[in-house]
């Protein structure tokens, strides 16, 4: 997978809840929708990813530490 594709998957995980859920249940379709090609041999490994952990990515990096309020 290219660096660009990895970036795409990462950003989708941060900002697209539906993508994250679909990556677990229908990884091939989720990645295809995102325009990312992946070796079919890896699909099962993707389905087995620690999805609960990935959910924390969005909550940790999906918003800003406020410096005052009007951001």
């Amino acid at each position: 997978m290219s660096a660009k594709d990895l970036e795409t998957v990462f950003l989708k995980l941060l900002h697209d809840e539906k993508f994250r859920l679909k990556l677990k249940t229908h990884p091939e379709e989720a990645l295809k929708d995102a325009g990312v090609h992946v070796d079919p041999a890896r699909l099962q490994a993707i389905a087995n990813l620690p999805h609960e952990q990935l959910k924390h990515l969005a909550s940790a990096f999906g918003h800003t530490v406020s410096s005052g309020g009007i951001n």
């Binding site: 660096a3 992946v38 969005a58 909550s59 530490v65 309020g69 951001n71």
Partner: protein, 326 residues
């Protein structure tokens, strides 16, 4: 690091209890917000409506006050009051109200300009004329307390000039090294010196201004670095040159993306930098002799720990993902 007694700092005293000081600042901020809305309405209907909408677009009423005053936010409105408690002028509520009101206006002016400069502005570009309103109140309220030849105005001008210089330099940077961060990006809260100077001059406590201003700036640098840390992906994607975006470019291996670098070492590296700075802030805080500041740092440390703990779980998942996909 200089010991507290060598700086003339006062010993740590209970002073005004943290809960009480927080309630007073909350009330001062509430009054300041009402005063701002009233003065905007008096100044002009468009100003009141359009700028009022911008002011409340993410939150209003108590929610807005919570965003200004909550533990996640830089304690811009608290710091001068905490300083005042150590100098014994916290009961001068008319003065404290003006300090808070000035700071609210100064903050709004800076935020309006920053949002336009960052390209985050949606409506801000058209609201830029409101900076004149905010600036006049930010500066104007102090005329009631300091005559035009008072030395306070030299401190005011120096801090405000410095803020302009730092903001300009920050906006023109293409890469942010550690030195750039300490001299520019990490100094974006330098205008916080203005209300501290006002308190110092009012109370005759100028000998304490240096340590308080240095702490306010170091705390601001910590907030800026925390912002850069947790927003590194957003900033990188939007080509905003921050310390962490620049670090990712400089430290990643040739075959590695910024995401891979952050998962491999950037997250741990950033966490350590921020923890080290928090420890340094605690050393600096000892010079202030203010229980509320210590409490503030306790809260920030807890919140940071919680967020990092959550992030660490996400990073573990990201590392697994990279292992599967790479």
């Amino acid at each position: 690091m200089t010991a507290p007694e060598e700086t003339g700092g006062r010993p740590s005293t209970p002073g005004v209890p943290t809960e009480s000081s927080s309630a007073v600042v909350h009330q001062l901020a509430r009054s300041g917000l009402a005063r701002l809305e009233a003065e905007m309405a008096q100044a002009g209907p468009c100003l009141a409506e359009e700028v009022g909408r911008w002011l409340h677009r993410t939150a209003s009423g108590d929610a807005l006050l919570e965003r200004w005053l909550g533990s996640r936010s830089y304690p811009l409105l608290h710091l001068p009051y905490w300083f005042a408690t150590t100098l014994g002028i916290e009961t001068d509520l008319e003065f404290q109200a003006d300090v808070v009101y000035s700071s609210i206006n100064g903050y709004c002016a800076i935020r309006l300009i920053d949002n336009v400069m960052d390209g985050d502005g949606t409506v801000e570009t058209k609201l830029l004329p409101a900076v004149a309103f905010f600036h006049s109140r930010f500066q104007g309220v102090y005329h009631r307390h300091f005559p035009s030849d008072h030395p306070f105005w030299s401190d005011f001008q120096a801090a405000w000039d410095d803020s302009a210089e730092v903001t300009l330099r920050d906006g023109l940077q293409h890469r942010v090294t550690a030195e750039d961060f300490s001299q520019v990006a990490g100094r974006k809260f330098t205008a916080a010196r203005v209300p501290l100077a006002a308190v110092a001059h009012r109370a005759g406590g100028l000998q304490h201004l240096g340590v308080w201003a240095a702490f306010a700036e170091a705390l601001g640098a910590w907030y800026q670095m925390a912002n850069d840390f947790f927003d590194w992906h957003h900033d990188g994607r939007h080509r905003i040159p921050t310390f962490f975006v620049s670090a990712a470019e400089g430290r990643r291996q040739a075959s590695e993306s910024a995401v891979q670098w952050f998962a491999r070492e950037g997250f741990d590296w950033g966490e350590q930098l921020l923890l080290t700075r928090l420890a340094d802030l605690r050393v600096q805080a000892r010079r202030l002799g203010c229980a509320a500041v210590d409490h503030c740092l306790d809260e920030r440390t807890t919140l940071f720990g919680q967020r990092v703990s959550e992030a660490r779980k996400g990073i573990a998942g990201l590392r697994t993902l990279i292992g599967v996909l790479a």
